[in-house]
Every structure is written in C-alpha cells, then in structure tokens.
C-alpha cells in the first residue's frame, strides 16, 4: 500500500532531556473535545481535566506581542496533560513529532504548515479580521507580525533521509529564538541533521517548511518539530481552531 496506513502526532510528556512519547499519539477523527492540542497562558485556570467548552480565554496584549506560554494535549474532552517542553520560546527541542508507519512510498519531500481549517484555504497575509476560511493566527497582521503568521515553526532535518537515516534531535535550544515578525516567503528548507537556524512562519503554503527530498520508502520514522505561538495587540479576538497540515506525495 503506497500511502502511509498511519500518521500520528505525538507530544512529549517528559522532560527535554528524557522525553516520553509513549502513549501520546493524537489519533485521528476525534470529536467533542477529544484529540486536541490546546493553547493557554500560564495565568489561566486550565487544568488537565478542563473541558474543551470551558477552556479559558487568553487576553491579547494591550500593545506589542507576546508568546503563548502553554500547550496542552487532550486525548479526551477532560483527559489531558501539559506539554512541559512547550515554553513559548526556543529553549526546548523535544516538543512534538510526527510518527509515520512503515508502509508509505513518498515520491517527493514533505511540507508542513498551519491553516485556518480543513479546507486548507490559502491565508490572506496581514488581513484582520480574517475572511472566510481564514483565521487571525495564520493571516498575521502588518504591525504585529509584518504580515507573517503569529505561529512560528521549526523542524529537525526532515525526519528520515532518502537513505533511511532517522534524524533525532538532542535536548537543548532550537535555532535563534523567533520573534513575532520571523518568517520568509515560500518554503524554508530544513537543515541537514540540525534545526533550522531561522524559524519559519506557518502561513499556509505561502510560508512553510519543506524537506529536501523524499524520505526512504517503506520505513517507519519520526519527524521532530516544534512551534511558538504569538499573540498581538492587533489580533482579532474570537475562538479559533487552527489546523496543522502535513502535505506529502505517494504512489
């Protein structure tokens, strides 16, 4: 079978030095608060048993920008844990990873970014409030983010090389700490056996991360990545569910 039978996103429930990925796969097609990543501020009232509908709001800064400093993973509506290594900056390496099964035949490099929803409509850079099938996080805003997205991403190599070598990061920092204006047009290509020095903005496939070539076929692997989410004084308020999208090709 040429498509991967299983792709899951896993989060670290341990420390950066001793990550724990076992049993943390976010399955597909959950509903009613299940299988969610939720963002929050440390000043909020959220806990590991807070229901999705009761998840506390985050206040945007009165001026400038600030990083969201907590990320939580929920396997059920009221069953979740904080991803301790998501800190809202570049100090921790082991935060998130994609887990690929051993039966895929990728034809080209893989790409990932964020979108407003599952329609994967291209964001409208800088537009606040957002239009249909857009959201404020991936649109960004001119003064807050120089019209890049409020979400910044980084990846460790492309996970698996074309020759079949698994790339796994060590604990520690991830490139240069991003700011709210970090990001460049088009694809930011991964660095060989390293994190990218400069983070990328996650603005659909307007600004995104790409591998360098097709990973080896029929080989299970992990692709390690991380993110920093910003808020800004000019971000449109509301409730949003942005979508992580990995694009790949297969025969």
């Amino acid at each position: 079978m040429a498509d991967y039978s299983s792709i899951t996103m896993q989060y670290n429930t341990g420390s950066d030095a001793s990550p724990t990925w076992t049993g943390t796969a976010l399955a597909q097609n959950g509903s009613a608060g299940a299988n969610e990543l939720r963002m929050a501020m440390s000043s909020g009232s959220q806990t590991g048993s807070t229901a999705s509908a009761s998840w506390p709001y985050m206040s945007r800064p009165t001026s400038g920008t600030s990083a969201v400093n907590q990320l939580w993973a929920f396997s059920a509506d009221t069953t979740g844990s904080q991803i301790a290594t998501y800190t809202g900056d570049n100090t921790k390496a082991n935060v998130l990873r994609l887990n690929f099964s051993a039966d895929g035949n990728p034809i080209t490099a893989m790409q990932f970014s964020y979108f407003a929803d599952s329609t994967l409509t291209a964001p409208s850079a800088g537009t606040q409030p957002p239009g249909s099938h857009n959201d404020p996080f991936t649109n960004g805003q001119s003064s807050d983010t120089s019209s890049t997205a409020y979400i910044k991403i980084n990846a460790f190599d492309q996970g698996l090389t074309s020759g079949g070598t698994q790339r796994t990061p060590s604990a520690g920092s991830v490139g240069t700490n991003p700011s709210a204006t970090t990001g460049s047009a088009g694809a930011a290509t991964i660095a060989s056996n390293a994190w990218m020095s400069t983070w990328q903005s996650a603005q659909g496939f307007i600004q995104y991360i790409s591998g360098s070539n097709a990973p080896q076929a029929n080989t299970s692997f992990f692709w390690y990545f991380t993110m920093v989410i910003f808020l800004g004084a000019n971000i449109t308020t509301g409730t949003y569910t942005v979508v992580f999208c990995l694009q790949y090709t297969y025969s």
Binding site: L26, I107, S118, T241, V243, T249, S251
Partner: protein, 187 residues
C-alpha cells in the same frame, strides 16, 4: 503517435471493477499494457483489487508495488484517469494520455495529514496525477490532475519532474520527484 481506440464497454467494466463511471466515489488510474483484446491481459487498474500474499490483505492495485516492481513501466501504451462525478461534470471526467516511450508514464498522489489545535485530525488524498514525461533530458512533463478538494479535473498541467511546482496556491510545490518509485527514467 499511437492510435487511441478508446474503451469498449467490456474494457470499462473490467477497469472499473464492475462500477459505472457515474457512480465512482473517487478517482482511479488505469494503464494499458497490451492489446490482446482480453481486458485481463491488457489492463492494470487501481480500481481492481488483488490478494497481497506478503501482507495477507486484499488491496487495490498499487502503482509502485504492481506496475513499477511488476516490470510493466516499459509496456504502458496508454495511461487513463477516471474521475468521479463533480460539480462541473455530473457524469465524471475521463482523461487518456498516449505513451510514446517506455518509462515515461507516471502516477502519484498528493496526500495530507491534518490535525487541529483544539480539534481532531484526518489523513486524506488531495489530488491524483497521471502524466507523461515529454523530454527525458529536461524532465518536462504533462499531467492530468484530479483535485479532490477543488472537486474538478484540471486541464493539462505542464510540469517538470526535476522541480514539480504547483497548480494552485493551497498545494505546496512538491519539489523533485523520486523517479525510481514511479518508474520513470530520466536522462
């Protein structure tokens, strides 16, 4: 240029595994590898299933596993794309690419894994491409695309397997194709 006779009802019935084109729920590729008059000898079709003894499952015909590893890439005469009914074509679409040289036919799909922050995730096919390399030195090619998200079959897309671009903004340019996996031999 080879003459394309089209498909007989008998061939179409075999290729689509008994389904009528207007009842398709997804797109499929099919490759003509022979001209005996017996569909079983002449066609490899993704819509048909086979027993995979190695994995112990029944699966659809697979391009890499069956066409490429089966040694059929030098025998393909025609490459077809069958698209389901859509908002622009209620009876579906069909495309046929005549293949003039061995190892110039290709097929691949664009897939996506999408996972929400505050939501669920899913894995899906975004597009299915069938194509032919027109210049093996440069990698220039032409392809028909069934775009699952746009719910249309696109007009012929001029591309290059050494640097695949994109046909619309929401599809990231895939980059360089691994031609070994799709059975293409570039110079």
């Amino acid at each position: 240029m080879p003459h394309i006779d089209g498909l007989s009802n008998r061939e179409l019935f075999y290729i689509l595994n008994g389904a009528r084109p207007e009842t398709l729920r997804r797109a499929y590729w099919a490759a003509k590898i022979n001209d005996t008059g017996d569909p079983k000898q002449d066609w490899l079709s993704e819509a048909r299933t086979k027993l995979d003894l190695r994995r112990g499952i029944v699966r659809n015909t697979d391009w890499t596993a069956d066409v490429v590893h089966g040694g059929y890439c030098d025998r393909i005469r025609e490459l077809w794309l069958f698209c389901p009914p859509n908002h622009l074509s209620p009876h579906g679409n069909t495309a046929c690419i005549p293949i003039h040289e061995p190892h110039t036919a290709f097929q691949f799909k664009v897939g996506a894994f999408a996972s929400n922050i505050a939501g669920s995730g899913c894995q899906r096919m975004r597009a299915l491409l069938v194509g032919r390399v027109n210049d093996r030195a440069s990698g220039d090619a032409i392809a028909f695309i069934w775009d699952e998200e746009a719910d249309v079959m696109w007009e012929p897309w001029h591309c290059n397997l050494r640097n695949l671009g994109t046909w619309r903004e929401s599809i990231a340019p895939p980059g360089t194709a691994n031609c070994d996996e799709i059975g293409v031999k570039l110079l």
